[in-house]
């Protein structure tokens, strides 16, 4: 497979240089100037932005090339209104963020060059534009795939010009945004003694123990994160692309390389397990004019990722870093063995040095072919095309892991150490696995663009697509779908615009007579600034109102395939018979649901667009999405039915919100600048979720009526002031309590605090996203950056192991040292119940990226048209009330990274 890709690469590079055309200069214009005539990618087509009647936000590829280089998704923060990007891990190879559009419940549809594909491995240089499709008018043609919105990525294509080569090289260092530090051994012991005293137990560490901390291996004082994590680690990327073409062939060719190294420090020359990623990606988009009216398009893209990860998963390593007490054991004992105890076997140094590693090689090869015939000779404006797609991926993993021995120094004195040892060093266990996916798609379309007549414009598209997806090698039955879709766009005098679109979409997930659904949408726009009564208006050069309504669907695969059939599955295994042979039972799987159908979202959108003083642009949308037939496990069945309850289309939600994009552009001769502000907000209510609802006084326990993200927990009511207070307060049933412990509110008034005293303690959260991007040019200097903020963000410490010192043999950290942290304990669980005390304000403002560039003027020779050097910082600054770690990432795992880069751009 790898050989094939290199061969293919050679061919496309050869193609790239063998084509000549007319030179064309590349102008980068930004901001509102393009507001009206800009092409906007829509589903299966493009339009001028003036003609758009639905809700779409768009960004150009070049605006993404000034941010994170490790993953495309990490360049999208705060740039597209309505798109919420939630950061993922910082681990090389696993650092893609997750996306939600307008408070959608699921990941949006991602379309790359017309087909559903992964966008993780695309680099910004390849991208012409990214559109976020948000309302029914834009999404209805996607049928059962449209309900969660869509991200439409369009890659660059060739144009008629002399081959233009662009090279960009960037390299730098990355380090963790933040991490939660545990306290040192002395503090640990003092706090442990405090906890023991709080529990009425004798102290464990004597004053001399505490004094001795760090003095010898008998008294370890280990800073685990210093030992395991580097201060910084390298990252770099190089990209090379060629755009060009002539009348016969137009081409765009790209070659990129990424090196992303992990942050782990321990080294093993024989088996280095530090995470790292080497990624090569290539693309070639060709348009060949076979006859004057026939174009054959070939898009080939591929990438190879070589990813190394430690064999011990992320969580175990990071849990050790975040929670191991400083005095737990020595990382390495004086005799060279690894430290550990019977309970604490996860020595992070040992895991990384000797635990083994996993190698993953994933290869993606995407190919699509399209032949488009223009029927102008027959009917002017008529064309038709046939397309075929084969996308393949192969993910091969192998690795070796083992359990290692750990030793604990036995009690004693002096330097003659005796050890207790736990577990034996095992042989390395080798594993390997091969998986892959295969997508086959056939599609056909007919387009008719009526020649403009008397200000009437008509644009018609009908299309058919049939998809066959094998999502893994083991898939016996592929996922099959059919989509018959069409769109009619009509406009009059560039003032009135109407779009009607619909999809008739079928999926094999449903019983045979209920496979197809109809998803229509209508949208219209009125450019009121074109009306006569607006003509005298000098400040408003353009104004449009628009509205859309329609139905979108989501073909959600719950409970595996074919949920309308009652399957039986393997149940428990247990020994029986004289030789205790294992027997396995069979049990009914989820009850069949013959009525199961797709989820539907009725989307309504009202929008306003304006261009003011030729400098300000405004795009604002208000929307209401009503989701019905949401698949939930409906608890409203009698307990005696005795079935594994199925997913049913019982859920209903309402989501509403606003998206605003405000732009400003200033063009003076030497100093040009522009800024773009986006604001996205949504709120959501679960109208019905299949909950077994309480009535009467306990109705406060219901989550129906609150948001999908609501958290049910106890409400803190101060702390116990004194013994009297404990006696007089309702009885808390979680454990014994002492003075200073959290006191919870008795919601039902029965003088007992238990699970029935929970209420909604956090309803809608994480729902306001603000991004301010700015860009300025002064002579040969340029600066650009993005400030991103998430409001109403919470840090939920409930059940977070870092917030429960000693309970899981884990160490306190600086969170523990906060003034209002409840009294420490070795075992009492009262304070660690799910309550609003552990929900903290996590709002943040981040400087996502800042870049300073200098373009070298008067380049020597004629070959090079541009040379620019730049410095960039990514994720460099965070402002938040939450001080203890990165407010974006408070779980256990490889945290997000920040990076500092230096780079060069050349154009030839």
């Amino acid at each position: 497979m790898k050989k094939k890709i290199y061969l293919y690469l050679t061919i496309i590079i050869f193609c790239g240089f063998s084509n000549y055309g007319n030179a064309q200069t590349d102008t980068i214009t930004i901001g509102t100037g393009e507001f009206l005539t800009d092409k906007v990618e829509i589903a299966y087509g493009e339009k001028q932005s003036q003609e758009i009647t639905s809700s779409i936000s768009t960004i150009k590829g070049e605006d993404l090339a000034h941010s994170s280089i490790s993953n495309l998704g990490n360049t999208l923060f705060g740039k597209l209104s309505g798109l919420f990007v939630n950061i993922g891990s910082g681990e090389p190879g696993n650092n893609a963020p997750s996306y939600r559009i307008r408070g959608g419940f699921r990941a949006p549809l991602v379309i790359v060059d017309g087909f559903e594909r992964d966008m993780t491995y695309i680099v910004p240089e390849e991208i012409e534009s990214i559109s976020v499709l948000k309302d029914a008018g834009a999404l209805a043609v996607y049928g059962m795939k449209g309900a969660n919105g869509a991200i439409v990525v369009t890659t660059k294509r060739g144009k008629i010009q002399k081959g233009e080569i662009k090279v960009s090289i960037q390299a730098g260092i990355q380090s963790l945004v933040d991490k939660l530090e545990t306290v040192d051994a002395r503090s640990y012991m003092a706090l442990y003694n405090q906890a023991a005293m709080n529990d009425g137990l004798p102290v464990k560490y004597s004053a001399s123990d505490i004094d001795a901390a760090g003095s010898s291996p008998r008294y370890p004082n280990v800073n685990w994160s210093d030992l395991v994590l580097k201060e910084f680690t390298p990252i770099g990327r190089a990209n090379f692309d060629v755009t060009g073409g002539n009348k016969l062939v137009k081409y765009y060719v790209n070659f990129g390389f990424l090196y992303d190294n992990g942050i782990y420090k321990p080294e093993n020359p024989d088996m280095n397990s530090n995470a790292n990623l080497k990624q090569i990606n290539v693309r070639s988009n060709l348009d060949i004019s076979v006859t004057p009216s026939t174009v054959f398009g070939i898009n080939l893209s591929g990438n190879v990722n070589q990813n190394v990860l430690p064999a011990f998963d992320n969580n175990r390593i990071w849990e050790a870093i975040h929670t191991l007490p400083a005095d737990a054991f020595n990382a390495v004992n004086p005799d060279g063995s690894y430290g550990g105890t019977s309970i604490l076997l996860n020595n992070p140094v040992a895991m990384l040095e000797t635990g083994g590693r996993n190698n993953y090689v994933s290869q993606y090869l995407n190919a699509d072919f399209r032949i488009r015939q223009n029927f102008d000779f027959w009917v002017k404006g008529l064309s038709a095309s046939l397309g075929y797609l084969i996308d393949n991926s192969a993910i091969n993993g192998d690795g070796s892991w083992r359990n290692y021995q750990v030793k604990q120094i036995a009690p004693g004195i002096g330097e003659d150490y005796a050890y207790y040892s736990y577990r034996e060093n095992s042989q390395y266990n080798e594993w390997s696995n091969a998986d892959g996916t295969r997508y086959n798609t056939f599609d056909a379309d007919i387009r008719y663009k009526m020649p403009e007549a008397n200000g009437n414009k008509l644009d018609v598209m009908v299309r058919f697509q049939s998809d066959e997806e094998y999502r893994s090698n083991s898939d016996i039955s592929p996922y099959l779908t059919n989509n018959y879709a069409g769109r009619i766009s009509y406009s009059k005098d560039n003032k009135y615009f109407v779009d009607l679109s619909a999809s008739y979409y079928g999926s094999d997930q449903y019983i045979s007579d209920k496979q197809y659904g109809f998803f229509p949408a209508a949208s219209m726009g009125w450019v009121f600034s074109e009306e006569k009564f607006m003509e005298k208006n000098s400040w408003l050069s353009y104004g449009k109102v628009k509205a859309s309504y329609g139905i979108t669907g989501y073909n959600r695969y719950v409970n595996g395939r074919y949920p309308f059939v009652q399957f039986y599955q393997s149940g428990g295994t247990f020994p029986i018979g004289d030789t205790w042979g294992d027997r396995t039972g069979l049990e009914p799987s989820m009850l069949a649901n013959a009525d199961i159908t797709w989820e539907k979202t009725h989307k309504m959108n009202f929008g306003f667009e304006a261009l003011m003083f030729e400098k300000f642009s405004l795009l604002a949308d208000f929307y209401i999405d009503k989701t019905t037939d949401f698949l939930v496990i409906d608890e409203n069945h009698p307990a005696f039915t005795g079935v594994n309850l199925p997913y049913e289309n019982s859920g209903e939600f309402t989501t509403s919100g606003i998206d605003i994009q405000l732009g400003y552009t200033s063009n003076s001769n030497d100093f040009q600048w522009n800024a773009n502000l986006i604001f996205s907000y949504f709120t959501n209510t679960m109208d019905e979720i299949g909950e077994a609802q309480n009535t009467g006084i306990y109705s406060y326990l219901n989550t129906t009526g609150h948001s999908y993200w609501a958290i049910l927990g106890l409400e803190q009511d101060g702390v116990y002031q004194n013994e009297q207070d404990i006696q007089n307060s309702p009885k808390q049933t979680f454990s014994e309590v002492i003075v200073g412990d959290l006191k919870y509110k008795d919601q039902n008034g029965d003088n007992i605090i238990d699970s029935r005293d929970r209420k909604i303690i956090s309803d809608m959260h994480d729902n306001i996203d603000i991004g301010l991007s700015f860009e300025a040019n002064f002579k040969d200097f340029d600066i650009r950056g993005l400030i991103h903020s998430r409001i109403n963000n919470i840090v939920n410490l409930n059940n977070a192991v870092v917030a429960q010192p000693f309970l899981n043999n884990n160490s306190p950290n600086n969170l523990t040292l906060e003034d209002d942290f409840p009294p420490l304990t070795l075992s009492r669980t009262n304070n660690y119940q799910l309550s609003d005390f552990w929900i903290r304000d996590g709002d943040y403002i981040k400087l996502r990226n800042i870049e300073l560039g200098y373009s070298i003027p008067n380049l020597p020779g004629k070959k090079m048209s541009k040379m620019r050097v730049f410095l960039r910082g990514v994720n460099v600054l965070t402002i938040s009330k939450w001080k203890h770690s990165d407010p974006e990432f408070t779980g256990i795992g490889y945290p997000p990274v920040k990076s500092y880069l230096i780079g060069l751009n050349f154009n030839f």
Partner: protein
């Protein structure tokens, strides 16, 4: 003209589009068909016996079958072992263990998170019903195959009865499902108790008629005729017990549905019926080769029986084999191994018997040394005359006790690790004392651990494995139930009652029943108290006591204040543990979980919740 041209063009394109779509539709018609596959559906299951048997097999899985007494099974969603809070064990407040405490801290309510829900019960019942409905559709290929189908049908009926037994001892009666529902919502209200007992009896009679006396070797462990009869006998003894066989308990007076709680009247004949059923079961067991285990000698019988499958086991569940690290579903060994004895040191201690259990053991002569406490904290024992005569003192607490004392408990001064390190258990709290085996865990507080079910051999090496065998029904249980039924019917133990009672006692080296050793106003009460002792000691950790005390309406016995020992430089003293278990009468019938009540018309919540 131009417009006309346009119209013609439009018509042309529409025709073109229509033809194209027709072509596409024509070739894509069957595209979305579900492919044929090897899926397992109801039809493939009942195609032959080898498939059908798997459906029955599932009912033996510990999700549905067994005693719900998987001690310290803190990973699973069933937090509780019934023994953990009813055998007077110290309950640490550590998260996993603290959940159990809610059963005895007086706060259990329909919203409590650790409540058992009804879904597993009805899931098993539905599976049994599916089998019962479809058994006659299985194609038998031989006469032996036909016989096997009948045996499996017997198992289905037996499991159905068993599920109702497990349910009614928790909640009282529940709806009787006469067929497998398909998610339907037909109303099924809680069945009157009397009717439910009759229905269970019918089900188990059918089972007994269909089941074999013994299975071929590879199937041993499944329901047999004698197991079904023993289960029926046990259920009838339960039904004849005071909680059900009498007026509604006082706390429940005024409850709208008293018929689901019991018979609502007393009828002595129910004891007769129970006794007869016990006798039939015992005879069936004997003729099937079952007998009391008596091969290891009085000092080892109970301990050996707890680790090995014997002829005394009528029905049991067995787990996978594990070393002392413990397995996914069973960690008897992991947290109940004395520290520093075996190869694996686990500081946390699962079960810690308190003095409220320990003090209750008889002396070898059959007399009680201690009869209660003079202080509320439970630290000042009141010695009986026998105790004084025997010279009982706390420094020699283990001297001359019932041989089951040492088999059930690990105590300071006992031995552990036979054959490999023969350690003397030393729970001294002074860290300077040499050769201690005390765990450094701060919550190890009582100075007692359990020995029953703990395989000492496992400490030797990580390669030594053990698959725990947990009795669901064993012969000694039926003997004692028989004696109980006779005692109640005859208002005192008759010869047969004494005979079976003494068989159980003598097997562990204890003398025959001596009425003067027991409290009670009359012969029946005295013998009842003897049974209470016997069942407590004999079935320690077998998940019997919680249900025994409730059916006897002796819930108050669960209200205790716990105390333990402390050993300091070899000197033993009693310490208060400041833990008091609370009994509330409403726990005679557990609450249904709120969601179950909200969803299920006719599932009347039990009184007091």
């Amino acid at each position: 003209m131009k417009r006309k041209n346009n119209i013609i063009k439009a018509i042309k394109s529409v025709v073109f589009v229509c033809i194209a779509i027709l072509l596409i539709v024509a070739c894509e018609q069957d595209f979305l068909e579900k492919p044929a596959s090897s899926d397992v559906t109801i039809d493939t299951i009942f195609a032959n016996t080898s498939n059908a048997q798997q459906l029955i097999a599932e009912l033996y899985h510990n999700q549905y079958f067994g005693t719900d007494n998987i001690p310290l099974n803190w990973w699973d969603d069933q937090w509780l072992g019934w023994s953990d809070f009813s055998e007077d064990l110290y309950v640490t407040s550590a998260g996993w263990h603290g959940q159990i405490w809610k059963y005895v801290d007086g706060t259990l309510n329909p919203g409590s998170l650790m409540l058992q829900r009804l879904n597993r019960t009805f899931y098993a019942i539905r599976t049994a019903n599916i089998f019962i409905e479809r058994a006659n559709t299985i194609t038998a290929v031989s006469a032996k195959d036909e016989e096997y189908i009948q045996h499996m049908l017997g198992e289905a009926y037996a499991h159905k009865g068993y599920q109702y037994f497990k349910a009614f001892r928790l909640w009282g009666s529940i709806p009787w499902m006469d067929k497998a529902l398909e998610g339907g919502e037909e109303p099924y209200a809680r069945m009157p108790f009397a009717e439910m007992i009759d229905s269970i009896e019918v089900s188990l009679d059918k089972a007994a008629n269909l089941l074999p006396n013994t299975w071929e070797d590879r199937w041993t462990g499944k329901f047999t005729r004698s197991a079904a009869l023993a289960l029926k006998a046990k259920i009838l003894v339960y039904a004849a017990s005071p909680l059900y066989n009498g007026e509604v308990p006082a706390y429940a007076s005024g409850y709208g549905h008293p018929e689901v709680l019991g018979y609502n009247n007393y009828d002595k004949e129910r004891w007769k019926k129970a006794a007869d059923a016990c006798k039939i079961a015992i005879d069936a067991c004997h003729s099937a080769g079952h007998e009391l285990y008596n091969e290891a000698g009085p000092e080892r019988n109970i301990y050996t029986l707890a680790l090995n499958l014997t002829k005394e086991h009528l029905l049991y569940e067995r787990w996978e084999e594990f070393n002392t690290l413990g397995g996914w579903r069973y960690c008897h060994n992991q947290m109940n191994y004395p520290y520093d004895v075996g190869w694996y040191k686990r500081a946390e201690t699962g079960m810690q018997p308190t003095l409220q259990h320990v003090d209750f053991y008889q002396l070898k002569n059959g007399k009680f040394p201690i009869e209660g406490y003079s202080d509320a904290a439970g630290t000042q024992p009141i010695l009986t005359q026998a105790g004084i005569e025997a010279g009982y003192n706390d420094q020699e607490f283990a001297k001359d006790r019932d041989p089951r004392f040492g088999q059930n408990l690990v105590y300071h001064g006992s031995k552990f690790g036979e054959h490999y390190n023969d350690k003397i258990i030393n729970f001294d709290s002074d860290v300077t004392v040499p050769d201690r085996t005390r765990s450094p865990w701060p919550l190890f507080k009582t100075c007692f651990m359990v020995r029953k079910f703990i395989n000492e051999d496992l400490g030797e090496a990580s390669t030594v494995l053990h698959g725990a065998i947990h009795p669901v029904l064993r012969l000694a249980d039926i003997y004692l139930l028989y004696a109980e039924a006779l005692n109640n019917y005859h208002d005192g133990p008759n010869g047969e009652a004494l005979q079976y009672f003494n068989l159980v006692r003598n097997r562990s080296g204890m003398p025959d029943y001596e009425s003067s050793n027991y409290d009670g106003a009359n012969a029946r009460e005295k013998f009842q108290n003897a049974l209470k002792y016997e069942r407590r000691v004999e079935f320690f950790l077998e998940a019997q006591r919680y249900f025994d005390l409730r059916r006897w309406k002796d819930g108050e016995d669960l209200a205790r204040t716990y105390a333990g020992f402390n050993v300091n430089n070899g000197i033993i003293s009693r310490v208060a543990l400041n833990q008091t278990a609370i009994w509330k009468d409403r726990l005679y019938f557990h609450p249904f979980q709120t969601d179950d009540v909200n969803n299920t018309p006719g599932l009347y919540q039990n009184p007091g919740y």
